[in-house]
C-alpha cells in the first residue's frame, strides 16, 4: 500500500510522543481502540486553568495511518480550548493525511481519542455536566 508523504513523515518523525501523569488533575487521558483490532491510541492533554490545552502527548499501537492520525492531532489540539479541540472532525484528519477509504477508521479513532481525553479531564474537574451539554 502506498502511504502519503504526510503519513510517512508522521510515522518516521512522530510529534509529541510520550506520556504524562494520568493521575494529575490538569491531565486528561483518552485510551481508545483494542489490541485485537490492531489499533490502540492513548492521547493525553494538559489543560491550563484558563481551559487551554497547553500540551499533548500520544502513544499509539497501530498501522502507519493510526500513528500519523494521533501524531497529527497532538499538534492540532495544542493551544486550542477544549471546545475547539472537541470540534476537530475525523474528516479533517483524513483529508490532511490523504487517508485512503480503508484507513478512515484511523482518523475516527483519533477523533474518539480527543473526545475521550477531554471527557476524562472534565470528569476530574467536575465539569461532566458541561461535557454532556456540549456533546
Amino acid at each position: 500500500m502506498a502511504y502519503s508523504d504526510k503519513v510517512v513523515d508522521h510515522y518516521e518523525h512522530p510529534r509529541n510522543v510520550g506520556s504524562m501523569d494520568k493521575d494529575s488533575t490538569d491531565v486528561g487521558t483518552g485510551l481508545v481502540g483494542a489490541p485485537a483490532c490492531g489499533d490502540v491510541m492513548k492521547l493525553q492533554i494538559k489543560v491550563s486553568p484558563e481551559g487551554i490545552i497547553e500540551d499533548a502527548k500520544f502513544k499509539t499501537f497501530g498501522c502507519g495511518s493510526a500513528i500519523a492520525s494521533s501524531s497529527l492531532v497532538t499538534e492540532w489540539v495544542k493551544g486550542k480550548t477544549l471546545d475547539e479541540a472537541a470540534a476537530i472532525k475525523n474528516t479533517d484528519i483524513a483529508n490532511e493525511l490523504a487517508l485512503p477509504p480503508v484507513k478512515i477508521h484511523c482518523s475516527v479513532l483519533a477523533e474518539d481519542a480527543i473526545k475521550a481525553a477531554i471527557k476524562d479531564y472534565k470528569s476530574k474537574t467536575g465539569q461532566g455536566e458541561d461535557e454532556k451539554a456540549a456533546g
Binding site: 489490541p35 485485537a36 502513544k59 499501537f61
Partner: protein
C-alpha cells in the same frame, strides 16, 4: 556460482521472501534459452528432427525431476505448477475411486489450493477430515491413524509449510497410509530441493512439485504418480493424451528443461546450501533475540527447513511493522493490506491469538542471500521494532506489568 546482483538491486528492498518465489538461477535460464529459438520443435512431433530434439530435452528433464525424489521418469507428469498438481492429484484420485471410497484427509495448515480443492470436493459429496496441528505446526500421527479408514481414498499432507517452514513426518505418514490402504499425496512445493525426499522409502504415492520455488521458471511444475502399486487418476485436462493421458496439452519444452535443470542443481547443491542457509538463519534469529525481548518463533525450530524463520514481535502492530521494514521484501502474517482483515490461518491454527498472528514476519532466505543481507536485516528490523515499541502504549503497559488481557477494551 553466486551472482551478487540477484535479489539485490539498487533502490529495491533486500529480497527475503524465498518461500513466495525464487529468482531463476542463471544456469537454469542458460539451459532454457535454445528451446525458445533454434530448438523450438513440438516434443510430440514424431516425424522430424525438430520434434526429436525437443522430446529428448523433455525426457532428460523428466529424468532430472524423477532423480531428486527417487522416482522413475515414467512416474513424472509435467503440469503448470504445484497448484495444478495439487488439484490433479486430489480431484483425480477422488474421482477415480469414488465408487468405493468417498473420504479425504488433509490438514488445516495446507496451502489454499489444497484446502480449496477439498472444499470443492465436499460440495460434490465427498467427506473431508481437516486434521488440526500441534502448537509446533506438526500433525499428531496418532490422530492421523485414527481418522484414516477403509473409505479414505487419499491423505494429503504437505512436506514443508510455506509460512512456518515446518517439516511434516512424511515417512511416518506414508507408513500409516500404506498400512491403511489410502493413497498418500504430499504437496512438496516447498520441500523439493530443501530436504531429502524418497518416494519409495517414504511410501509417497503422489507428490506435487513447483518450478519457481526451486530457482526454476514460473508456469511449470510436476506431479509424481506412482506406478507400482499403480495410482489411477481422472484427468482434468482432456485432449491429445500427452503425459500418459493424465495431462493433455503440448509440453512447454523450455519450461520443462528449466525445471529439470533446477532439480539437478538443487540435488547437487542441497546439502551445502542447507548448511549455509541454516548458518545465516541462526545468525538472523540470534541477532534479533539478542537485541529484542518478547519475540517468538512460530512453528517448530528443529523440524524446519533451513531457509525459513517466522517470528512474532509482541506489542507492535503488523502493518506498522511492515512499514518500518520497508528495506526488506518479507511477508507478514497480517492480512491488513488485503481485502480481508483476518490474520494468517496457519498461525491461528498453531493457537496464536490474533494480535500475535498480526505481528509476525516471515523471513525467507535463499540461494542468493548473503551474510551482509542478514546483518542489514537484523539492524533494520531491530530499529523498526524499537521505534514502534517506543510509540506503543501496549509496550508501556507490558513494562509496567499490566496484563493486557485483564483490560476491558472497547472493540471497534
Amino acid at each position: 556460482m553466486t551472482i551478487p546482483s540477484i535479489g539485490r538491486r539498487p533502490g529495491q528492498p533486500i529480497y527475503l521472501d524465498y518461500q513466495a518465489t525464487t529468482p531463476c538461477d542463471p544456469r537454469v535460464v542458460e539451459k532454457m534459452l535454445p528451446y525458445f529459438t533454434e530448438k523450438f520443435g513440438n516434443p510430440h512431433s514424431r516425424n522430424h528432427a525438430y520434434g526429436w530434439e525437443a522430446e529428448e530435452a523433455v525426457e532428460q528433464a523428466r529424468e532430472q525431476v524423477a532423480a531428486i525424489i527417487g522416482a522413475d521418469a515414467k512416474e513424472i507428469i509435467f503440469t503448470s505448477g504445484a497448484t495444478e498438481s495439487n488439484n490433479l492429484a486430489i480431484k483425480g484420485v477422488a474421482q477415480f475411486y469414488k465408487d468405493k471410497k468417498d473420504h479425504i484427509v488433509t490438514v488445516v495448515t495446507e496451502h489454499k489450493c489444497v484446502l480449496d480443492t477439498c472444499r470443492h470436493l465436499e460440495q460434490e459429496g465427498f467427506k473431508v477430515t481437516y486434521l488440526p496441528v500441534k502448537p509446533n505446526g506438526l500433525i499428531d500421527l496418532a490422530e492421523l491413524e485414527a481418522v484414516v479408514t477403509d473409505k479414505t481414498a487419499i491423505v494429503s499432507v504437505m512436506g514443508v509449510n510455506n509460512e512456518i517452514g515446518v517439516i511434516q513426518p512424511l515417512a511416518e505418514i506414508g507408513a500409516i497410509c500404506r498400512k491403511k490402504g489410502a493413497f498418500f499425496h504430499t504437496d512438496c512445493a516447498q520441500a523439493v530441493g530443501k530436504i531429502e525426499l524418497d518416494v519409495n522409502a517414504m511410501n509417497i504415492d503422489l507428490m506435487s512439485i513447483s518450478g519457481h520455488k526451486i530457482y526454476g521458471p514460473k508456469g511449470i511444475g510436476a506431479l509424481y504418480v506412482r506406478r507400482r502399486p499403480r495410482v489411477r487418476i481422472v484427468p482434468m485436462i482432456n485432449g491429445g493424451g500427452q503425459e500418459r493421458g493424465m495431462r493433455s496439452g503440448t509440453l512447454a519444452t523450455p519450461l520443462c528443461v528449466g525445471l529439470g535443470e533446477a532439480c539437478a542443481i538443487a540435488q547437487a547443491e542441497m546439502g551445502a546450501e542447507a548448511e549455509r542457509l541454516r548458518g545465516m538463519r541462526d545468525r538472523l534469529l540470534g541477532g534479533l533475540k539478542q537485541r529484542l525481548p518478547e519475540i517468538y518463533v512460530n512453528g517448530d525450530l528443529d523440524n524446519r527447513v533451513a531457509g525459513n524463520i517466522n517470528i512474532s514481535f509482541a506489542f507492535v502492530e503488523g502493518e506498522g511493522l511492515m512499514m518500518g521494514v520497508k528495506d526488506l521484501a518479507v511477508s507478514s502474517g497480517s492480512a491488513c493490506t488485503s481485502a480481508s482483515l483476518e490474520p494468517s490461518y496457519v498461525l491461528r491454527a498453531l493457537g496464536l491469538d490474533a494480535e500475535m498472528a498480526h505481528t509476525s514476519l516471515r523471513f525467507g532466505l535463499g540461494r542468493f542471500t548473503t551474510q551482509e543481507d542478514i546483518d542489514y536485516a537484523i539492524d533494520h528490523t531491530v530499529k523498526a521494532v524499537e521505534h514502534l515499541r517506543s510509540l506503543s502504549p501496549l509496550w508501556d503497559m507490558h513494562l509496567e506489568g499490566v496484563d493486557l488481557k485483564s483490560i476491558q477494551w472497547a472493540e471497534h
